[in-house]
Symmetry: C2
Subunit: 406 residues, 2 copies
Amino acid sequence: MPILVHKYGGTSMANIERILSNAHRIAKDIEKGYQVAVAVSAMSGETNRLLALADEIDPYGSGRERDMLASAGEQVSIALMAMALHKIGIGSVSFTANQAGIKTDPFHTRAKILSIDDTRLRKVLDEGKVPVIAGFQGVTEAMEVTTMGRGASDTTAAAVAAALGAERCDIYTDVDGVYAADPRIVPRAKKLDRISYDEMLEMAGAGSKVLQTRSVVFAKKYNVPLQVLTSFEDLPGTMISEEVEGMEEVLVTGVCSDKTEARLTLYGIPDHPGIAAQVFEALNDEGISVDMIVQSVGQDGQANISYTVNKSDLGDARKVTEKVKQGLSARDLSVDEKVSKISVVGVGMKSSGGVAARMFRCLAAKGINIYMISTSEIKISVVIDEDYTELAVRTLAKEFELETEE
Amino acid sequence: MPILVHKYGGTSMANIERILSNAHRIAKDIEKGYQVAVAVSAMSGETNRLLALADEIDPYGSGRERDMLASAGEQVSIALMAMALHKIGIGSVSFTANQAGIKTDPFHTRAKILSIDDTRLRKVLDEGKVPVIAGFQGVTEAMEVTTMGRGASDTTAAAVAAALGAERCDIYTDVDGVYAADPRIVPRAKKLDRISYDEMLEMAGAGSKVLQTRSVVFAKKYNVPLQVLTSFEDLPGTMISEEVEGMEEVLVTGVCSDKTEARLTLYGIPDHPGIAAQVFEALNDEGISVDMIVQSVGQDGQANISYTVNKSDLGDARKVTEKVKQGLSARDLSVDEKVSKISVVGVGMKSSGGVAARMFRCLAAKGINIYMISTSEIKISVVIDEDYTELAVRTLAKEFELETEE
């Protein structure tokens, strides 16, 4: 039988009424002849409630203990979801990450999935029951509980879908799909019917909060289509899949903004091979992800390197960079938290040039200064002053026709 | 170094302020030269909050899922307690039951500890850190999460103390010790300085809610003294230990009442060997504990058996007994929930007779009818109409001088 994975986010798990409504939705797909596995988030507000307790003690406390704490939220959800399924006559078994065999690396609060041993999940599916798996969490080889960052229940769902060879992974959330621009900034932003894995990857990395980036990585790698849809209404969502014919006809699929990054700049470092590697290896050793990197040649054979990291990693990144700075006898280190990243994404860029020029001209016309530029085959990102975020997004949405007509 | 186990109940974990205060108390014992291990309950109200969510779906739902749900409460507590210790500079590592190697039988919601693999706990202690262990919960061989009944965090603490060969296990709670009678019924009830394991066992089994019975079983078996004391003030508590000289000088140590049991009576069963066994083996197979048993010879070579079970097990017990009743062609089955068990306990009874007679005379003088009687070497229990509970306790507390003078 074909397998579907359903994922329910916090707002879809907010109360018993909604949890029972999810159970009925699962029942419908079972009636259609699917085996269904479910991944769930903590009830909305619960992760924040728990982490606020931790912050009351120490906002910079042990990652191990924060993971132990936060993962309790999903444990509540899996039990309630399984109970709701029982209530309507559907066999179900809840699974902590430990029980589901979701193994991660040992980087607390930002762990990554290494493997899923799906033996127990398959056994439950084969018994005609619905496994309900705790999202967000994992375990290390040493049985330590880890979590994988906010929004990581998407990744759990996609990884489970990949492991089970699911036909599709339906991500139920409180928005009804993926929009070409954030509707809070661009009220008439177009809803997308389809988007390619690669575009979604770039958009997730560029600040679209609809899906955690790594969920799309799993989906793409194992070619499992993801559908983003709302659990509040019976509406078609946005399908994320391989690139299909016609997708390239649109030049720009979406525009995104991201205020979660901070920029670090190292001034006056020796301009010879291997220097950049030293900086980024040191950051990587601490499990800190770097997003944009721009190296520029300065004076006297010296160079400057700017790069962006997530603000939550800024404390660690600054420490690591300070050490490297001393090792390299760099002249100075500056940190700028008041920045925003604006990106336009579209597979259409592969075949048509000129998008970058149009983007820069557009921003210049509004007097917006560009600090950093980074491009990929299907994305152009710029870092600007945070204050201009909304203006930049609205301007680019208009320029690239990302709004509905009416 | 000698080891102490601290156990903090729900009211002692109610908020961050109290949790930090526990951390300071642990620090004091470390300064005195002890290694300290800690067992904690869920924050007060949390287990009720979680189970209320479950009840909203189905109050008679899967025990497995109720355990999965409820055990999340202790997971929150261990993380917060470890964070609080870090905050004041004490190394600490939290342990779920799974991580602490607390293996139980598979009877959900009333599991019993089978073994503790203390390897990881000892490793953490040897590193000079404080292991903080989730009370109440365990895991089966098949990695299923179990819980061990309300109040079972005491049992976790005592079992951990036994496994680690602790010098003492301090049970911090919201009462300042064990009283000769429930102070809500007998306001001037004496607080006990010392009580023997056997007396405490009988009192716990007789309705004293200060400690879960099985915690005392572990303590007695491994000869680990338990101390019951409050975390709200710096007061000496009650020490529970082996019987020492002088204890027998007091005839009755305490009087207890218990409204949590219900009485079942099977009428007209064949009066020959092995019949009682059939009833109680069937109950045992379902993991249902039976407390008092009274068999009486009836007419025509037939007998009646009355026994009491916890009201929470009554539904299951009734089902099992109905089946046995049919197998035995018994005449009738009656169930009485409106009963109360009144017990007097004291090692002094071993050397002095006449306590039973005094007890029965006392109750008769107040017009209280006795339904069942059961005695041990150091305890006499009677089952009476629930309405007379408080009157019986007050009368017996007076008779056996269990009140302070002033």
